[in-house]
Symmetry: C2
Subunit: 387 residues, 2 copies
């Protein structure tokens, strides 16, 4: 599906990437720009004539969502507003039920649209609530974190953690639209920038070398006094390239070999083992580093390429090792992942920057190589030879 | 889709009705017969090679599900077994979460199948749990009540009550198969038979006069010492005729004018107002009687036809009036229903036995006619002139 420049669904001149979720349903991921005045206008057009409860968190509410809410009211939209507690530990069935309760109090009809304004936890909870209410109402996502904008909010999944397991319960429920505005990132704390960069690096390593190079060159653009234009280009490329990859298998019913799972095999275990005190972005970085060094150890990846990957992660301030990542837990994670991927682990490992391969069976992951890779990363924070 | 007689998907000679849920996914509703030995065999074939936690209730467990579980184990199936408390008040998010918790303990992969063995509450909860686990695993429904067999279990919906509202939260999640065996009905308490007959009468009144006549002639067949062959024929016709009607709009995204909503406008309010102490089947009967008498009052339905409808309901032991059904609540129910049907109430009223029409707007329901209809039913339990 081609990317459009020009008048998007919202009428303003903003870039859009249409995603064909099913034969009958498509949604637009739109790149708005608050500085150009297109954010609130785009949202108002999207929700015109509907009841729209906004769901946010206290911090995002204070910084952005309450202003957006007032703006919608001023434009005559029947908006409501509620705030959830933030953070991964709040990604629960209870949080979803609270959103449903508030939605019910607002007497939503089936045409109503929930609008999630926040990070990945907020939009995941909103997606799940929308999928439940009256057996499914529409929703719009306005991701305010880098991780939300380039990853969590642009696909069709919602999910919550359950009984200590990351995303054990969830849904496939396409949004009506996703409104991405990199202007939100100016208020984002540094760690949150790092978490999002991890997912961008994922795309770069696994199937888009030019994006990897873009991040190598533009890492500082995301920091204070950075370059907004470089940020917009990097964010948009990451979005488009991820959607290119996801679109053929959005419902994950066409096979379990997905390069987009790179960095997502050991990381759910690390997050769970840490009681979600390790952030998803950091956990993905650790997983990518481990997968890369493992690939180098078993001869699938050139050592220099491996070094380049681990070095970029470290440059971005991302961790590449964690004490909870023991060989035993890693072996257990391989088994757990196989349960979720149709019986085969399909571990994604890089074979070069921009290209990945699969190790199909958990049994094919040499436990000694895995232990060596863990030890190397723990000892030096970088693979042997990287200095 | 034609009904098949002969070798079904389970290999045994059982009747099946294939339902095309989406372009890519279909499921079979199968008429098994335990007396002919086809029930357990059919289920074992359906779940072959999968992990299958059976979910049931204590009563159904004692009567049927534990035997089915042992039978599956004996056939080498990796089955598990759990029991939920039964009853409409148990149709909650909590019950769904409990099923998920047990499923997680059994380390289900994405190929696992939940199997719901019980009434409509059990299969609704199981459907919702299956839709959540790992973003959707498969499930099989084995309805053991008449209402489950002819209505609640054969479509693609699951749902729970929430904050006092009937089915406010739910999902569309097609089953892999539905195994209907009228032999289960031999252990069914008399009220449960009545509840199921209400849904059969619904189909008869709203779009299938021959089914209505079948019930007029075979009402006693469902009682003790009744005629199993007549029961099978009536159940199967009710199933096939309901699926004929539902199949074109299973996801309810092709309009809100559905004759299958007959009896389902005032009934959710009655169930909620009674704290679910009035059973769904009884509430539907009261709703159908009210809709029929209202139609007669406003000249849309011949009085003799109206009498025939109300008389059959009474013959079947079904209520046609309830003290909680006040004019105020009815008006509120019309408004609530409109929220769920795209803004228009689309009240279904019979214009003859076997044919229905819609009253599009809540404003078109004359409140005086509604009050007269309520008074008539309350005073006599039958419309004026029915004696």
């Amino acid at each position: 599906m081609p990317v459009q420049e020009g008048a998007g669904a919202a009428g303003a001149a903003i870039r859009t990437r249409r995603v064909q979720a099913t034969r009958a349903a498509a949604y637009d991921v739109m790149l708005a720009d608050d500085l150009a005045g297109s954010r609130a206008e785009a949202l108002a057009r999207l929700v015109e004539g509907r009841r729209v409860p906004l769901v946010s968190t206290p911090t995002v509410g204070r910084l952005h969502a309450r202003a957006l809410y007032r703006d919608l009211l001023a434009r005559g939209v029947q908006a409501g507003m509620m705030e959830l507690a933030g953070g991964e530990v709040e990604k629960t069935l209870d949080a979803v039920a609270r959103v449903c309760e508030r939605a019910m109090a607002q007497e939503l009809d089936r045409e109503a649209l929930l609008v999630g304004v926040g990070g990945g936890v907020c939009t995941d909870v909103v997606t799940m609530a929308a999928s439940w209410i009256r057996r499914g109402i529409g929703h719009v996502r306005v991701p305010t974190t880098l991780l939300g904008q380039v990853d969590a909010s642009i696909g069709i999944k919602g999910g919550v953690n359950f009984a200590g397991k990351k995303n054990y319960l969830g849904c496939f429920h396409p949004p009506r639209a996703v409104l991405v505005d990199p202007c939100f990132l100016r208020t984002l704390p540094a760690p949150q920038v790092r978490y999002g960069l991890a997912e961008i690096v994922k795309v770069g390593v696994a199937w888009d070398a030019p994006l990897f190079e873009l991040v190598e060159g533009a890492a500082h653009a995301f920091g204070p006094g950075g370059d907004p234009a470089a940020v917009r280009e990097t964010v948009w490329r990451a979005i488009v390239r991820l959607l290119d990859e996801l679109e053929g298998n959005l419902y994950e019913d066409r096979g379990y070999r997905r390069v987009a799972d790179f960095g997502h095999t050991f990381s759910p275990m690390l997050e769970s083992a840490a009681g979600f005190a390790v952030h998803h972005g950091d956990a993905v970085a650790v997983d990518m580093a481990l997968s890369a060094v493992l690939a180098a150890e078993i001869g699938m990846l050139d050592r220099a390429e491996c070094t380049r990957i681990v070095r970029l992660l470290r440059q971005l301030g991302l961790p590449v090792t964690h004490p909870l990542l023991t060989p035993e837990r890693c072996v257990h994670a391989l088994r757990e992942t196989a349960l979720h991927r149709g019986g085969s682990v399909n571990l994604v490992v890089p074979v070069a920057v921009g290209r990945a391969a699969f190790i199909a069976s958990a049994g094919d992951v040499d436990p000694r190589a895995l232990a060596r890779a863990l030890a190397l990363l723990a000892a030096t924070g970088a693979p042997a030879g990287a200095g």
